[in-house]
Amino acid sequence: MALMPKRIKHRKVQRGRIKGDATRGNTVVFGDFGLQSLEPGWVKAQTIEAGRIAAQQYIRGEGKLYVRMFPHRSITSTPLETRMGKGKGEPEAWVATVKPGTILYEIGGVSEQQAKICFARLAHKMPVKVRMVRRRPM
């Protein structure tokens, strides 16, 4: 099932702006290789799940995949063919906010070549530009 928070303070939040680069969650921590975002954007819970399945199908039974983002933010929308007004729409999706530098997924226990293929499959599903990075030496 797609991810969403268990408990929240507010059902609807303002859209906000994604400013600056990631200062946290921008290093490979658990695995050997990571998929890093190069753009700011929102990644839907269903997209995170689709990416996880795509990667899991490739590395089945070999390495370990780590999902480093979580959809904390709700996105609302007004239904089609509705007149303007009548207040803010209902929550439609849950998204993870990513900034340039955020590590989206990590993979460990596979060779670099396998990680490259796996992340290429995964990158097709991402709504932001991404690149593969390796664990930093220091």
Binding site: M1, R7, K99
Partner: protein
């Protein structure tokens, strides 16, 4: 250790000057330790890039500072592609230093042929060693790793004069059988499900629904 890196004294400090320095292909750094005064220096970015890529921990400086230094801290930009600043500590040949060294796995575990997956749990550990003989990495042989077995820090063959600072019983690598995730579960996404609201009691929810 690579050739000596030429350093220059950095007299103009502050954000604007440091940015100017980076644009000119230099990296700002501080050198301290051994009870001597702190020195602000700049290093050529290209030389530092190759040192960092090679995983060297000790570098030899010449010019403004003539000594061997240990890279204590390295600040990176948000994308992790370039070094912004370095903290360097003076060390001598006979001095014992405490540093973090990466652990690399060698060989192939027999457990993987029986559908096991090798899980690398600990990627680096703290060791004490002579300042000028810091190992680039510690190698761990996993040729004897069977399913449901775990190798610990005690199983690493340490180079001469290197001693572990962490608990030798800390697990480093294990071989386990992974349970397959239920993908049908993922497909059955309930869009109507909503998280619980903090601070809203059950009575309030009932009132809301009545309205």
């Amino acid at each position: 250790m690579s050739d000596a890196i030429q350093t220059e004294l950095r007299e103009q400090l502050g954000t604007a000057n440091t940015r100017r320095l980076r644009r000119a292909g230099q990296i700002p750094a501080n050198v301290y330790g051994h009870g001597e005064d702190n020195v602000n220096i700049s290093l050529p970015a290209e030389a530092i890039r190759s040192v960092v890529r090679a995983g060297s921990r000790v570098i030899e400086l010449s010019g403004a500072v003539d000594s061997n230094v240990l890279i204590s801290n390295c600040q990176w930009d948000a994308l992790g592609s370039s070094v912004l600043h370095m903290d360097l500590i003076r060390i001598s040949a006979d001095e014992v230093v405490e540093v973090s060294v990466s652990i690399e796995l060698r060989g192939s575990a027999p457990g993987t042929s029986a559908n096991g997956v090798v899980r690398h749990l600990l990627h680096e550990t703290m060791v004490a060693c002579p300042g000028l003989a810091i190992p680039e990495k510690l190698e761990m042989n996993i040729n004897s790793l069977e399913i449901d077995e775990t190798l610990t820090l005690a199983d690493i063959e340490l180079p001469e004069n290197v001693s572990l600072l962490s608990d030798p019983n800390t697990p480093v690598v294990t071989c386990v059988i992974v349970e397959e995730t239920d993908e049908e579960d993922a497909a059955s996404f309930d869009a109507a499900a909503e998280p619980e609201l903090i601070g809203q009691s059950d009575d309030d929810e009932e009132n809301d629904s009545e309205e």
